[in-house]
Structures are given as C-alpha cells and as structure tokens.
C-alpha cells in the first residue's frame, strides 16, 4: 500500500496566529474517488480554518450520509464531529448547538442528504436561523449509492447509465433565500480563490450561512450529458462578484473606487469586500438575488459567488433569548434548581 501522505511540508509554509500550519488542520487521507470535487471542498475548509486561526477543538463537523457526508473525516482531524443519520444532520446540529453555542458548526451535506431525504430538516433549520455553516456538496447524484439522479439534477439530464431526470430540480439556494437564510452563496469546488474567502466569511457570519458548492462526481456524473461535470461547469460558470474576506485585525483601505466595491461589515467586525462584476448587484437585496439565480439558469449559466448577506439578522439564540453561558457549562444546581423552586413554579399555576 503506497497511499499515505508524507508529514514533510514546504519549508516556507506560513504558520497562523496559533503557530499552526494548514497541514495541522488536515484529516485522514481521503478514500473518495481520485478527482472528487468533495476533496477540493475539504481542502478549502482546511485552508479557511487555518487562515482564520480557529482552534481545532472549537469546531464541530456535522454531517449526514453520503460521499459528501463522509468528507469530514478528511479534514480537521483534531475537531469534534458527528456523522449522523441520512438527512438528519440539521436536527442533531440543532441539539448540539443548543447545548454548546460556543463551537463553530461546520456542516457538510450532499444534495441527496439535503434535497431528498433531508429536505424537511433542511427547510426548518433555515427557518430556525441556526448559527452554523451549512455546506452542500452538490454533484447532482447520489454518489455513495452509485449514481442515481438526485433532486438537484437539472430536468432532462441523463445520468451515467442513461436514466433521464423527469422532474423539476430543487435549487437549494433559492429555497434558502425564500426561507430567509441570512447568508447564501453558490460556489464551484474547483475555484478555491472564490470558495476559501466565502467559507471564511460564512464562518465569521453570526447566523445561518448556506453554501451550495457544485462539486463534480468524477465517477458517476462527469460524462458529456451531465450539467455537473468539470467541463460543463467550467464552461458555464459566471460570477456576480469577486469576494475577499478581510479579517478584523487587518486594516481596511477605504479608498476603493466607488460603485465597484462594496464592503460589508460582519458581526465580529471582519469585512467582506465585494468586487462587483455586475453593477446592479446588491448583497442585501434578497429578491434581486432570487431573480438573478433564476435568470442565469434560464440562460444555461450557473451563477456563483455571494448571493445574499444580511449581517443584521437575528439568529436562533438571539431569537430565543438563550443564556450567554452555553448550557453545557452551566452547573447542575443552576440547570435543575430543585424541588422547592419547582413547587413554587407549579404553585403559581394553581
């Protein structure tokens, strides 16, 4: 067996604020097919977390079932993780987040996991505005079960064995926009210059952040008839804007040409600098985003980039007015004040 990644690294590899290199954020060596887009997403997550200097033990990786949901094993070896039941990642994440809101929740799901079996769970976690990063590795098929068409597949496309997609596709970005997600983006796994800053911004964003990542399945969905193949996506991808993520500690240069740039201040003080390619583009305009996505789709294009961002939206804990101290850190006597207090409460209802 000659399949192990050497611990040697480049002598010029930078270290982050914690003294770690990005190699310290890697996971086990991937067992996905060679060339799988999901591996590129893993690499982007590794770089994003390293660049943000997040302590690995302050991250929880959440996933369902699928090749995409296996991927958390291939990044962040020193983080927490929960590989849940198919389509049930959102409820488990909600529970975890309720118990410990101090962790960064990075969820990795698939289009099968989120748009088929887990669609109901997906819709509700968006509504709930849970503070998490929800990533879907969108390959248009059920990779793990050998290439059945997923609900995100465009109507009319054929899968590898020749089955045609008869039904309308589900666009998870459109759903997320409709259901009020405060951060919605679409990316391509093959474009790290776009993906890494967007993952970083999604992590910095306080609230529900959704990223739909087109992630070609080299084995079951990379044939000429597919609209999720490397060739097709590379030819049809268009971006609304080039996004840069500027962490809090870096100084902001205010002299940017008017009209072309937009700086959006995130909750934690970091900045998303958006270099607009489309002059009418406005991150806060949810309706426009919906229209743009649909319009490009009608033209046969895949619109990528940050689609919508509302840094002021309230998230789950704010809406529910939960305690500042995470529940898992509250001692038993406070959580469970005892029989006397309970009877006082009960008495108040009598």
């Amino acid at each position: 067996m000659s399949f192990a990644k050497s611990k040697f690294h480049h002598k010029n590899l930078p270290v982050n604020d914690l003294g770690l290199t990005y190699r310290d954020y890697e996971g086990a060596i991937s067992t996905l097919c060679a060339g799988c887009g999901h591996d590129s997403i893993s690499a982007a997550i590794v770089h994003a977390c390293a660049e943000l200097s997040i302590e690995p033990h302050k991250i929880a990786k959440m996933s369902g079932i699928g090749c995409s949901s296996k991927a958390p094993n291939y990044f962040l070896n020193n983080s927490h993780g929960f590989n849940t039941v198919h389509g049930r990642m959102p409820s488990v994440t909600t529970g975890a987040n309720l118990a410990n809101k101090d962790l960064t929740y990075l969820a990795m799901s698939g289009d099968g996991d989120s748009a088929s079996i887990g669609l109901g769970q997906f819709a509700h976690v968006v509504r709930r505005q849970l503070n998490m990063v929800y990533m879907v590795a969108n390959n248009g098929v059920y990779g793990l079960t050998k290439g059945q068409l997923a609900a995100t597949s465009d109507r009319g496309v054929k899968n590898k064995i020749g089955d045609t997609s008869l039904f309308n596709d589900i666009d998870l970005c459109v759903m997320a926009l409709q259901l009020g997600a405060s951060f919605v983006a679409r990316c391509f796994s093959g474009d790290k210059n776009q993906l890494i800053p967007i993952i970083k911004a999604a992590i910095a964003h306080q609230g529900f952040a959704f990223i739909d990542i087109i992630s070609p399945c080299v084995t079951f969905n990379n044939h000429p008839g597919s609209t999720r193949s490397y060739d097709y996506v590379q030819e049809h991808v268009t971006a609304r804007a080039v996004t840069d993520f500027v962490p809090i500690k870096e100084e902001i240069n205010h002299e940017v040409p008017e009209g072309k740039f937009e700086d959006v201040c995130l909750h934690d003080g970091s900045i998303m600098r958006i270099h607009k390619l489309d002059a009418n583009y406005d991150t806060t305009d949810r309706f426009k985003a919906l229209q743009d996505v649909e319009r490009h789709k009608a033209k046969g294009e895949i619109l990528t980039g940050l689609l919508h961002l509302d840094p002021t939206a309230q998230h789950y804990h704010e809406l529910n007015n939960t305690t500042d101290t995470p529940l898992n850190q509250i001692k038993q006597d406070l959580l469970c004040p005892g029989e006397r207090v309970l009877s006082t409460i009960n008495d108040s209802f009598r």
Binding site: M1, S2, A4, K5, F8, V218, Y230
Partner: protein, 596 residues
C-alpha cells in the same frame, strides 16, 4: 509563459539532484534501489559503468552529490550516498566475469596515456573494449596516481585500490610503469593515433618566508611527504609536527603524522574554521583523533635559535570580506609561536608541464594551463587531449573520472576521423512506474528518518595504525535503512496537458504544495522565477530546481510545478482521475554522453 521543454532529458536529469551534481552523472537512485533489493553486484556494476572506482569512491569521494541531495532540502541531512556506494563494493560477489573485455580483433588504433591516475585509467577502461591498443605511462611503479601516492591507507586500503585498478589493467592495457615522460615532442614522434595527458597536479606549493632556507631540513611539502609514506620511504614522524594549510591534504598530513609517532600535532590555518577548504568530515575526523586546529594565523617566520630549528612564528589575522565577497586578511597585531620539529606545508598544488616543449604547437594560457576545448578536452595539437587535475588544476577523483569519459568519447571520434565536437547525445526514456491501484514499482512513502552514521574503529586504535581503515562501512541492515531515505528523484512527475480536467485534486493532495494552477502570464521573455513571484502557493525555498510549466489547459490556465521540494511521492498521480500525472522513471541510454 514559456512551456518547459520536455523533448530532451535536460529538465529531468536536473531534477535528479544527486545525479546532476555527480560529475560522472552516476545513476544514484537506481543503484540505491538495487541495494534495497540486495542486488549488490548489479548495483556495483551500475556504479562501475559511470564512476569506474565504486570501492574507492565509496570511501574517499568528495561527494558533491550529497550537498545537492533533495533529502537535505526537505529534511536536515542528505542521503549517505557515498556510504551506500561502498556497500555495493563490500557486499558484491565476484563480478570479474561480467566486466567488458578487449575484443580479439583490434581496431588498429593506438593511444598513449601519460600518468596512471583515475583520469587515464578511465580513458583506458572506455577505449580498450572498443578495440584500441592502449599504452599507459607513469613514473611511479604502480598505477593509481594520487589515489595511491597521496590518499593514506587508513582512508583507502591498498587492496581496494588494487582490485579496481586491476579490473582495468587486466582488460589488456600495456603498462610502462617507472617511465617518466620527459618530452611530448618525442612521444608525438612515436605515431600514436592519440595521446591523453593525465599527469595530475603534482607540484606542491612552497611558502617563502624568512628562515625557509635555514630550516630546510625540517620543512617538507605535504604531498611529497605523503607519497614518501605511501611508498614506504618514510615511516617515522617526530613528536611535534605543525601542518600549514586547511585543505584535505593538510588533514591527511596531520592524521598520518599522528600515526607515525607525532604526539603533539597541530594544524595552523589562515582562514576561519568555517572557511577551511577541508571537507567537514575530514575536519571532524582530525579533531576526533586529537589534532589541534588553530585558525586565523598566518606564518611569519621559520625560527632558528643558535643554528637550530625551534618552531614557527605566526601572526594573527582576521578574515574580512570586501564588497565583491573576496577575503582580505587583516592583521590583528597579536603573534603566536609554535614549537615544533617538523613543518608540513600543505597550501596547494599546481600542474607541472616542464616536459612539454613550448615550440611544438601546444598552446598554454596566461596561467600556464593548456588551452583546451571545454566540450572535448582537445588541445591545440589535435591528437593531444587532457583530463583530470592536469586539465584545469586540482579537483578530485570523480572529476578526473568524468574527464576521462569525456576525453574517451573525443578520442574515439577523433580516431574515426570525426570532429570531436560532433558528439551524439544520449537517448532517454521515461517509463511509467505504475503497477496497479495504489501501487508503484518504487517505495514512494517518505517520512522523517535521520541519516545513519557509519560505524568506525575506536579513535584510540585508529591513531596507532597507519594501514588500518578507520571506517567500517554500513552492513546490509544499515544499508537497507539508509537506502529507504532516498526519494527516488529519477521517478519523475510527468504531466500531460491534454488529459487534465483541472479538478485540482493533485494541487490539494501534494504534501509540499508544489503544484499550482494559475492564469497564464503573457510574457515569454522574462525569467520564470521573476514572473511567478507571489503568484504561487509558496515562493521557492531554494533555487536549486526549475519550474515545470505546462502549455495552456482548457480553461486557459497553466499548471506550474516547483521541482524544488517535490518528494516524488506520487500522490499527485495517485489522485489524478485522468492519469494526467504519471510517475515515470528516467533512463539514459548513454550516461557518459550526458557529461558536458
């Protein structure tokens, strides 16, 4: 950007750092793999083909391959390449039957070789199997040149030297030993078809300071003194010996003096310790044998007292480097007096051609060196060729061997009536090493493993015996462990633009961030180094290797791989869904022809 030229072997040979650095381009990784397979005889013969003296070089080579070795860039210390070379000689079977022989029918051409050092012996080895009748002249009574006369037996046992010289002489070389050549003019009249001059750099440099005449009986030139020891004319040294100079000759002098009875042996050198010319391992061994090295002192006078020699006076100096990086010695005003009975002067050697008449058409340059064609080693008399230390001044054995190969090719062409500049280059092949899923024909997993030290006899015993070899060499187990440290740099990452789908899997997996996909840069003229600055994952850590730059890919982007840090781990090829990367072994059909 300009695509890397992969239509010749140049880029690939350069990637094999050790092979490129070896003057004879020995296929190092290939023989290391053979050692790992315990195929010692095959490994020996592969060495022998390129460097002619594996047993000798495995002990005393200057090893320019090691500082170049990739392992030294990705880790701390290079692969112990020359130690492994010795293993092939120590553990091989009898290989004499596998050596080339002179053909029964000669080609009718005669060649005279002057001097029987490694350069001439290499020429003989290359020409005799082709049917040349070769005569080798030396003023000494045995072959080997300075390998025999200068390099002490405690570093290089005579039996090892004899064996490898005999392999060549027994092929059917005519020897005229004990025969100094005193006139090139005369030799030219003997109508040899070609003459090769391999007379080395046999003249030791003297030091001209006050007292040199008076103290004459107590001063010897290092190289003359060493050859007297080698040939048994001298087997004693006085108790107190001072060696002047900081090169390898100085190290051999002091260590020999210690073995011949010197109890207080000092080396005094003008430079700092770091700037000494001696190899680091020579300095270390001398220190281990209890020799004092006094640095930053320059000799001022050989001091006589009442007509008796008492010692050497020195001035302390400081090395200062001027803007051009040249060393200037500045006196500090302090002095030092070292008492001693014998001074060995080891401050350099020169070539010596009193036997070449200056009016026979052989041109010399302003430094008294023959004018030579760099590419062919041909002199201004077309049938006379030079090589080894005689050609450009003192170097080392492996350089002499490389010159020998180069000159042999020239002589062969010349004797066939072809201009030696019209050389045919080596063919090359790149062969896939893929054996199956996750399986390569070479050991591609690499991780940290420190260099293994060579065992040696105790230093107390070492300094007592002149002819006992100090180093013991690796045994098969140590050899196996050290062999595993080799990164197989001759198994190349070969990229095919037309099959790449730009999925970035290779870029993601590469442990050392070699691989980049970037927008093409519309500039064909400026150097890649400059154009790529800041555009890749990481800037170069060293400048030892080039970039591998692809043609435009489908999206218009290009692939740029930095060859500097690549581990040859094959993960890129393993991860590539389309086989756009493959790990392919470079083989050269004629390694000697690649020596340029």
């Amino acid at each position: 950007m300009k695509k890397t030229d992969v239509s010749t072997y140049d880029h690939f040979l350069k990637v094999v750092d050790c092979q490129q650095a070896c003057p004879a381009h020995t296929p190092v990784p290939e023989y290391i793999r053979l050692i790992a397979d315990k195929r010692y005889s095959d490994a020996y013969l592969l060495n022998w083909q390129s460097n002619v003296f594996p047993g000798v070089l495995g002990r005393v080579c200057d090893r320019p391959c090691e500082p170049a070795c990739r392992r030294g860039r990705v880790e701390e210390e290079p692969v112990a390449i020359f130690r492994l070379k010795r293993v092939t000689a120590d553990l091989k079977d009898d290989i004499s039957a596998r050596l080339p022989k002179a053909p029964e029918h000669k080609n009718g051409k005669t060649v005279a070789l002057i001097g029987a050092g490694p350069a001439s012996l290499t020429v003989a080895r290359d020409l005799v199997p082709l049917g040349y009748e070769v005569t080798i002249f030396d003023r000494d009574f045995k072959g080997g040149g300075m390998m025999r006369s200068q390099i002490p037996a405690f570093r290089l046992p005579e039996s090892v030297l004899d064996e490898e010289i005999d392999y060549i002489l027994n092929m059917g070389v005519k020897t005229e030993f004990g025969t100094p050549i005193t006139s090139l003019h005369k030799l030219l009249k003997d109508n040899y078809d070609a003459i090769f001059v391999g007379t080395g750099a046999p003249k030791g440099r003297a030091i001209n300071i006050p007292g040199v005449k008076e103290a004459d009986a107590h001063i010897a030139l290092g190289i003359d003194w060493l050859s007297n020891v080698s040939f048994g004319h001298n087997d004693k040294a006085p108790k107190r010996v001072v060696v002047l100079g900081g090169g390898n000759t100085a190290m051999d002098c002091c260590r020999t003096a210690k073995r011949l009875g010197g109890t207080d042996v000092k080396v005094v050198v003008r430079s700092s310790y770091a700037a000494m010319k001696a190899s680091p391992w020579e300095k270390k061994d001398a220190a281990a044998e209890g020799i004092d090295i006094i640095v930053n002192h320059t000799p001022k006078e050989f001091v006589m007292k009442n007509g008796k020699f008492v010692g050497v006076a020195f001035e302390q100096v400081e090395s200062i480097y001027d803007r051009g990086g040249n060393r200037v010695l500045k006196q500090t005003g302090k002095t030092l007096f070292v008492e001693c009975d014998l001074v060995l002067v080891a401050v350099g050697q020169d070539t010596s051609f009193p036997w070449i008449e200056r009016d026979i058409g052989l041109d010399f340059n302003e430094w008294g060196q023959p004018e030579l064609n760099d590419k062919t080693l041909q002199s201004s008399i077309d049938k006379v060729f030079f090589g080894g230390d005689a050609a450009f001044g003192p170097e080392n054995i492996i350089t002499a061997v490389a010159h020998g190969h180069k000159a042999a090719i020239s002589i062969d062409l010349f004797c066939q009536g072809v201009n030696p500049e019209q050389r045919t280059d080596s063919d090359f092949a790149l062969i896939s090493q893929k054996m199956g899923m996750h399986e390569w024909s070479y050991q591609n997993i690499t991780d940290h493993e420190v260099r293994h030290a060579v065992p040696h006899i105790s230093w107390e015993k070492a300094v007592k015996e002149l002819a006992t070899e100090v180093e013991l060499g690796f045994d098969d187990q140590l050899a196996l462990q050290e062999a595993k440290r080799c990164l197989n740099c001759d198994v190349h990452t070969v990229f095919t633009e037309s099959t790449c789908i730009e999925c970035s899997a290779c870029d993601d997996i590469c442990p050392v961030d070699c691989i980049n996909f970037i927008e093409d840069i519309p500039d064909n003229t400026r150097p890649a180094q400059e154009l790529l600055k800041g555009k890749l994952h990481l800037d170069k850590a060293t400048d030892e290797q080039d970039y591998l730059i692809s043609d435009k890919l489908k999206t218009g982007n290009i692939m740029v791989k930095d060859e500097d840090m690549c581990l040859h781990c094959g993960l890129c090829a393993e991860r590539c869904p389309t086989g756009a990367w493959d790990m392919q072994k470079l083989t050269l059909s004629n390694v000697e022809a690649t020596i340029k």
